[in-house]
Symmetry: C2
Subunit: 268 residues, 2 copies
């Protein structure tokens, strides 16, 4: 691993729940020497990628990301395009729609849209982290990722988010062929109790899976009608999203059912 990668990898220790970290902590977490971490953090700081907060001299992410994110979004208006799809998807299903991108061996949420239709909704946050094994989105991504990647992910310890989380690698692997067949994954209460989510993979220009689009509804609202609506609408929205981002589903990817309810009955 090059020096630049080491510096960049330090940024991964900042998260929603750990917005600032001290020098010694980063050294411990990364396994690097304190002197090394200090030098790397200083370099990051000089470019505005991190900054030090007054008191405990802890580090936090810097303002440079706002600028670079704006430039990225200007060059590739992914978020904007995705938001448009999510908005219609949440409106037409009446439930929360969101999209997340693969980042290492984890998904991070890119955007979401609520339907202000019911009193209760599944909540979502930007940059929220979704694990691959416990979420519908994660399963969708796993099913369309190289087996070597799947192996890496499933060989690590899988934490149970809820009592419903499937943590047996074999059980997870067993689900993947069907997800591949229908082009969509489901997870009931695997990540959050009482949440039923459907997810479909999104592909880039080289037909690699880069993330997933999903619709999440409270388990209590999930009827056959809603399930059918979500499945057909999500399939189309995901396809449009892949295309609008300049990507292509792999040749093996199933077409959304127009007249053939076979796949749907298999899903249900």
């Amino acid at each position: 691993m090059g020096t630049a990668s080491k510096a960049l990898s330090l940024l991964n220790y900042f998260s929603r729940s750990t917005p600032q970290i001290g020098l010694s902590d980063i050294a411990r977490l990364s396994g690097m020497n304190k002197a090394t971490v200090h030098r790397l953090m200083s370099e990051l700081a000089s470019h505005g990628f991190v900054e030090q907060v007054g008191a405990g001299r802890e580090y936090r992410l810097g303002p440079a990301f706002l600028r670079l994110a704006a430039l990225r979004e200007k060059a590739v208006p992914m978020r904007e395009l995705v938001m448009a799809e999510l908005k219609t998807l949440s409106e037409v299903t009446g439930e929360t729609a969101h999209m997340s991108l693969l980042n290492g061996d984890v998904l991070s949420n890119l955007a979401y849209s609520y339907a202000h239709l019911h009193g209760t909704m599944v909540m979502m946050e930007d940059a929220e982290v979704l694990e691959l094994h416990s979420t519908g989105s994660g399963l969708a991504v796993l099913a369309f990722s190289p087996t070597s990647f799947v192996d890496t992910v499933l060989n690590k310890p899988l934490v149970a988010r809820t009592s419903e989380t499937i943590t047996d690698p074999k059980a997870i692997r067993a689900q993947l062929p069907q997800i591949r067949r229908v082009g969509m994954a489901q997870s009931i209460g695997g990540f959050e109790q009482d949440v039923h989510s459907h997810a479909a993979p999104i592909f880039d220009a080289t037909s690699h899976c880069i993330g997933a689009m999903a619709v999440a509804a409270p388990v209590s609202r999930m009827t056959d009608t809603l399930r059918t609506t979500i499945q057909t609408e999500l399939a189309h929205a995901a396809r449009r999203t892949t295309r609008v981002l300049g990507g292509f589903p792999p040749d093996t990817f199933p077409l959304p059912d127009l007249a053939a309810p076979a796949a749907e009955s298999e899903l249900t």
Copy 2:
């Protein structure tokens, strides 16, 4: 300069007008060896900081910034807080309000707010680059920056954006004492023809100037009344913004005039 800094500095060659660049171009621009650039870009790419676009294999900024920007904004809701101030500032002045952050020796726009009051407005964009010598915001920042920094900036060649741009370092230096005295800078047509902008510096927790808040109006609309409104409102908004961001103006920074119109007459 460490290796990590070299890698990070490559990101600066991406801009609004140059969203993607080829390997050889980056090597030329940075003066680094092609092999070096290739290795650094590969490391950046492996972390999602850049990505390669299909055809010409050119590089562009990657999706990682969306995630990190969301985390930064969650940890430090600078943009959100600033937006609130800008919104009221643009409403009360009836003109375009914006705020930019110092990034190296250039300002990059963080946020802006239009007043939908007149048929014509000064336009603004996220991550737009503002030079220090040709903009009101830049002058405000220069006036409250260390002299060594001012020297560095003014010793470089100063390009004339318009026929009104002041490119003589001496003339610019001559303006700074008064800007310091009144706590606000003005620029008439220095960056864009027919734009009259007022700008006030923003400070961090260590009283260092980190950027500027500004109000930009068409020259044709600038009356004495509007000027007075802008000056008083901007002074207060900038002060509130500094405070709300956890910063402090330096001890020498003038208080907004409550009952003493002396400073204002000096400004006008």
